[in-house]
Symmetry: C2
Subunit: 457 residues, 2 copies
């Protein structure tokens, strides 16, 4: 190689290095501060204290219930004490459903009690309903069934979901819970039972919402625990007629509501630009909502508190949104998107932890090309926490869906959800299921991303 | 060494070997047959089919209930089909207790629902009882308390048990469940709650019996699930007054009963000499009694069926006893010892699996010195199943205690009970918790011991 050629190559390499240095969107100072906040997070159980207090002092907080009111009061007080610049409540309206009584039993051939949990928006049986069972393993099979096969019977939807780190099979099977009632009703069924959308083998039934399109006219509907669904399957496999007794009493009213609880750490230079950290404040009525989504509430409040503790506000605003009524239709999320439509163009990014309390293992995004190398740079800053870089097609938390549709960039700090659906929507969703070290790691990851986005130039 | 000395040593060694060969109590033929039966056991899921059928076709079978009657009928039919020479029912009388309704809630400072399970022989509250809580961590502390500290209150016994392969800590803590009611009542308490005697962290309360000495006059009493007990502990630790609401309704009647179900494979040479295999047929009313003690029932029936399948009966009698009402005071066991007092001297040995469905890991005994090398010889025949030799102080299954007191030799084929108390006496005691390979190994171990004892010279 000639000397001149060597020199040209050297110059070209220098230019590339220079350009990449020029293009770096994160300053050394930003990175240093973010890492020091993460170090505090990794040594602190403050977020654990938050979810401990929420689950102990409020416990289950079904949307629209008295406990939900107490949860809103707890959140307001907690955020006011936590050093936010603004704390406000924004009303959200929705229909209210309540479980009053539920029991089920095998009447024939082998009498025994079953463990069930009424599904959200379930109707009532008005005393015990006794009817034979017809079973299906998919929505398609139910849709294809002749009405005379279904009429007068209890429809049993029998599909077992499998574990997945992202909870994918739950997502795939969820339409069974949402939609079966509609199809079963069309064909003249008397009630609906589903095998719980759960991965555990413990004897908990997993509740969850059906579509509220048919609020007030739904069939009585409940989920069976896995061992109970296995029991029915064994009897059906033996070829015998299976007759069940079902007694559900629920209460429904069209008018009700709660509040989105919103708190800002107002940016020092670009206060109108917002990094949104979301979680939902409501829970189902059965467990204390430690995993769903108390831990999410704790992660985002803990993150924001760390940033608020800095001597100087970051350039942009950090906004914590505790959404109302995610569980029964994402009412708070829709209301937020509506009430804040005008400022959504200034939402720099949004993130929501709502897949339990596992460690964050992956950083996905769904951001426009204008972000250039930023996602990779952020990912680099997360790698010391054992977090991999994922792609640019993240789904994002449930309360972010209306924002995503309206173009807000979405960040996916993906929690390991392998065991989440063992506990999801059951009595067993309690504080002891949270591993403090995993929670510390999650706050560390959130604080790095949130601070860097809020303070970069 | 001189040649003569060498020769003397050789003679002495020969004598020892000869003596030990002479003393061997098990013949090669016996061992060969036992091993061939074990090989069949290790390849068969017949015992699993038995416990599947018992838990599916009967399910929970509380002593004295209609389901208990169905369990007795199931057992009789199953044993009659299984090739036994004699199948008979022997009546057992006992008081009958029944759970009708139970609920509990925190009234103050933080209202939320609690998950409880009434204890056997609990009284009723006659509507909701609302009272403050006083807590203790041991029976001694409750006994030492001043009456004015306890009077008018709900006593909360807060002792967490730990895992142990033999379930030892359960045994140590059991007096808390049996005896607290008596002491609390003496000091004027209104009701009793105990932290479940369970090792799991799932939200199941573990029921179980109190002493029936005070049947009909017991305080209302229930167990709390571990997460619920943790919740109360957190509130008490905060120094606030804790007020609970408790609503228990139970039914008690002094006259009731069931049957010991007894089946013999009659010995060909010494029919009066009996190897007794026991398990209890009753279960609590909450789970399907798969582990407690459906799997025990399956192990011993499966074992006896294998021996019955041989072309020739062994020399001695193999007796299967499915004891009535172990759970509420060992009534069947006491009745058996009474009814069979005259033949107990001919009970060669007794064994009972009642520690769940884990693999057998240890062979203990409690046998007289007259057994000489037999325990070691039996242990040698178990070693290929991964079973260690334990000592000669086995406790033995619960239904063997009256026999043990009367001098019947006891064998302890000890199951790994590390996880048993996660499920014990809860709704979660269901078929799916049984690992088929562990069950096959257990039957193999039982069949080796049973056959060798039954057929040795």
């Amino acid at each position: 190689m000639k000397t001149r050629t060597k020199f040209s190559l050297f110059c070209a390499l220098f230019a590339v290095l220079q350009a990449s240095a020029d293009e770096s969107l994160l300053s050394d100072d930003n990175i240093k501060t973010a890492k020091s906040l993460a170090a505090i997070a990794l040594a602190s159980d403050h977020a654990h204290t938050l979810v401990r207090d929420l689950t102990t002092q409020v416990g289950p907080r079904l949307a629209g219930s008295d406990a939900d009111k107490r949860a809103v009061a707890w959140a307001k007080t907690t955020l006011e004490k936590a050093g936010f610049d603004v704390v406000k409540l924004e009303p959200v309206e929705f229909p209210v459903w309540k479980r009053k009584l539920e029991s089920a039993r095998i009447v024939a051939p082998y009498p025994q009690k079953l463990i069930i949990s009424s599904l959200g928006f379930s109707g009532s049986t008005n005393g015990e309903l006794v009817a034979p069972v017809v079973s299906f393993t998919s929505l398609a099979a139910l849709q294809d069934a002749a009405p005379e096969q279904v009429a007068g019977k209890i429809v049993f939807m029998n599909r077992q979901i499998e574990r997945h780190i992202n909870g994918d099979d739950y997502g795939d099977a969820a339409p069974i819970r949402y939609r079966s009632n509609t199809f079963a009703k069309e064909k003249g069924a008397k009630a609906l039972l589903i095998r719980s959308l759960g991965t555990g083998s413990h004897r908990f039934a997993h509740t969850g919402a059906m579509t509220y399109d048919e609020f007030d006219t739904n069939l009585p509907a409940a989920a069976l625990s896995r061992p109970d669904a296995d029991q029915l399957e064994r009897i059906l496999d033996s070829g015998q007629e299976l007759v069940l007794g079902l007694n559900l009493d629920t209460e429904q009213r069209k008018e009700g509501g709660s509040f989105n609880v919103i708190a800002d750490i107002v940016g020092s230079e670009k206060p109108e630009e917002i990094i949104l950290l979301g979680a939902h404040l409501d829970s189902w009525d059965v467990g204390t909502g430690a995993l769903d989504d108390g831990v999410g509430v704790a992660i985002i409040i803990g993150t924001a508190e760390l940033i608020a503790s800095l001597p100087k506000r970051p350039r942009r605003t950090i906004r914590v949104v505790l959404f109302a009524n995610e569980e029964q239709g994402g009412w708070g999320a829709k209301q937020y998107a509506k009430a804040h439509a005008a400022e959504l163009q200034n939402h720099v990014a949004a993130a929501e932890p709502d897949l339990g309390a596992g460690r964050i293992w992956q950083f996905e995004t769904q951001v426009p090309a204008s972000w250039k190398s930023l996602p990779e740079e952020l990912a680099n800053q997360l790698s010391f926490l054992g977090i991999e870089r994922g792609g640019n097609k993240t789904r994002g938390g449930p309360d972010l869906q209306p924002l995503k549709e309206l173009g807000v960039p979405i960040l996916g700090l993906n929690q390991d959800g392998t065991y989440y659906f063992d506990y999801h929507h059951t009595e067993d969703d309690t504080l002891d299921k949270i591993e403090p070290a995993a929670l510390r790691q999650s706050v560390a990851a959130y604080v790095i991303i949130s601070y860097l986005l809020a303070d970069m130039e």
